[in-house]
């Protein structure tokens, strides 16, 4: 799959309390969650973000609380892909499970600047920075995860399982 959009920049250790503050955890309404996406990291994000935009961040993106509301709000806000130097474990698995593409690349994380237009090819493991005419590689998902992604998320991938 390919994703292309303008990037929003964030730093290291952006935690899920900043991505989706707990004061909004009293709902599961996707559109409501989208309105508060990234609110405590960048108050204006929900107003600025456009469909297909991409988030580029530093180390340990999504650390802290397991709240799936965080990646759900990012997806519902229209973000097509998240690039980071590294992802916190629960956040990463939540993204795989709900079908929000992520790409882990130190080079991309270091080079991409706010507003750059980039494209991410998850089949080839390549990120193209169209603004800066640069290319960065990232490790493709292992086959186990690809199966979940190809199915369109974890719930689709387990269809027919159980008793």
């Amino acid at each position: 799959m390919q994703y292309k959009g303008k990037t929003h920049r964030f730093g290291d250790d952006v935690n899920t309390d900043e991505i989706l503050p707990a004061r909004y955890l009293n709902t599961t309404d996707r559109q409501e969650l989208a309105k508060h996406c990234m609110e405590d990291a960048d108050k204006a994000f929900a107003q600025k973000v456009k469909t297909h935009d991409i988030i580029a961040a530093g180390r340990n993106f999504g650390c802290g609380s397991s709240r799936e509301h965080a990646p759900v709000s990012i997806k519902a806000a229209g973000v097509s892909c998240v690039i980071a130097q590294s992802f916190a474990r629960i956040f990463a698995r939540n993204c795989i499970n709900i079908g929000l593409p992520i790409a882990e690349s130190i080079e991309a994380s270091e080079r991409i600047r706010k507003g750059d237009t980039v494209s991410v090819d998850t089949d080839k493991g390549v990120i193209r920075n169209i603004t800066r005419k640069e290319t960065y590689k990232f490790e493709k998902y292992p086959p186990f995860m690809q199966k979940i992604i190809r199915a369109g998320g974890l719930m689709n991938s387990i269809k027919g399982k159980g008793r």
């Binding site: 250790d13 802290g64 474990r89 629960i90 698995r93």
Partner: protein, 424 residues
């Protein structure tokens, strides 16, 4: 090559002949936990899946604890969804207000988790139960929904890190300080994707409440799980549980001598003093004695990290016959109904109220800025909780410092961060 305790438990539950770090496995799960924040999303996914029935209702645990007793109408509706789901699917391990407590204090207390178990929970602090010699880890709501349907969860087998603690604990130093010291050393992503195995002579004599505190905060170093091999202290703890929900003492695993670790760290605890994690990361750790110029508006003693009876006993010891400074709001939240009642019986609740504090019903409450003590703009709290991220306890322009209960109680008396020896 031998196996670590984490690898042994995963292997036992997986459909695999062997396991190695980096391998993806599907594993049978003994218990799957959700709360009033995370279970509603899981229930939605389960309903959308059309599965229609649970793989095993006995393995489902639902604890409304985050925004319960319901803090507002939307939260009330989320709690109602849990209650309805429990009723419709005959889930016995649903804990209504009055029976509930903070999930990670409640489950060990009633013997729902046993050594050797594989437990998942849609809450990052599910790693707490590693203190009992179980593999337990936080997952997301969709993972929980999948476990409702299949009874299984997918895992990447983690590398293990070994943390060896030696020496006798200094006065006023406990499990909280050992884990803060560790996180301060390796950083908030120092154990990312990895198992944190705690061992050594200090751990061998460490009581269960302190072990639970240590494993609880493995996630704050990015760890997949924290784990301590079960021993005499574990067996004594489990045998002491009245009306235990599950029979037996579980299955005790320990790491092989030739098991492989990606990192081995050794700490001499005699050099560790009461510590405080400063804003805005749990790794930003400094000695409490060096932070005497930090004044506090609120002190919170509670949470899944330090809301157990031994924590309340320490706090009461500090506060007995003394008053919290008039400018400080002192909020004490026992983690479960049992702890609440025990503290009343032991006279601890009286000490707290006479010290000018409030003594609350169990809830996660202010830890995640929910209710029962949300911070205003510019305010500072010292809490025995687990996270001090920006805005964690309320307004994005508020600050949270983390400490053990002795430092917290001493600081309530002084109105600023204090070393316990300043008070006793």
């Amino acid at each position: 090559m031998g196996y670590t305790i984490t690898e042994k438990i995963l292997l036992k539950h997986a459909k695999a002949k062997e396991v190695h770090p980096g391998q993806f496995i599907s594993a049978k799960v003994d218990l799957y936990l959700g709360n009033d924040i995370t279970a509603p999303l899981a229930i939605e996914e389960f309903e959308k899946s059309g599965a229609g029935k649970l793989f095993d209702p006995k393995k489902v645990v639902l604890v409304p604890d985050h925004f319960a007793p319901a803090k507002d109408m939307k939260s009330a509706n989320q709690c109602k969804r849990l209650a309805a789901f429990a009723r419709n699917f005959n889930i016995k391990n649903y804990f209504e207000v009055g029976k509930m407590g903070i999930e990670h204090a409640l489950l060990p207390e009633i013997g729902l988790v046993l050594p050797g178990d594989l437990v998942i929970g849609a809450d990052s602090h599910t790693c707490t139960y590693g203190a009992l010699g179980a593999f337990s880890t936080g997952i997301g709501s969709t993972d929980l929904a999948a476990a409702y349907v299949t009874g299984e969860c997918w895992f990447k087998v983690p590398e293990s890190m070994k943390f060896i603690f030696s020496g006798k604990l200094p006065r006023w130093v406990g499990g909280k300080d050992l884990i803060l010291h560790t996180i301060g050393d390796i950083g908030v992503d120092g154990a990312r994707y990895r198992a944190m195995e705690f061992c050594g002579e200090t751990i061998e004599t460490l009581e269960m409440d302190d072990r639970l505190t240590m494993c609880n905060m493995a996630i704050e170093a990015g760890g997949k799980n924290g784990i301590i091999a079960p021993d005499k202290i574990t067996a004594r703890y489990i045998k002491s549980i009245k009306d235990k929900r599950r029979p037996g003492l579980g299955k005790c695993y320990s790491s092989d001598k030739d098991a492989e670790y990606s990192v081995v760290k050794e700490y001499d605890v005699r050099k560790i003093e009461p510590l405080v994690a400063c804003p805005n990361l749990p790794s930003n750790v400094r000695p409490a004695s060096k932070l005497k110029d930090v004044s506090v508006d609120q002190v919170v003693i509670g949470s899944c990290t330090n809301g157990r009876i031994s924590d309340l006993r320490i706090a009461a010891k500090m506060l007995k016959g003394k008053k919290a400074k008039s400018s400080v709001r002192l909020i004490i939240i026992p983690a479960t109904q049992k702890i609440y009642l025990d503290a009343v019986k032991e006279g601890l609740a009286k000490i707290f109220v006479e010290a000018g504090g409030i003594y609350s019903t169990p809830s996660c409450g202010p830890c995640l800025g929910g209710h029962l003590g949300v911070l205003a703009s510019g305010e500072t709290a010292l809490a025995t909780t687990n996270r001090n991220f920006t805005g964690r306890m309320g307004d994005p322009v508020s600050k949270v410092y983390l400490s053990n209960p002795a430092v917290a109680a001493a600081s309530a008396i002084k109105g600023r961060i204090a070393h316990p020896s300043e008070v006793i």
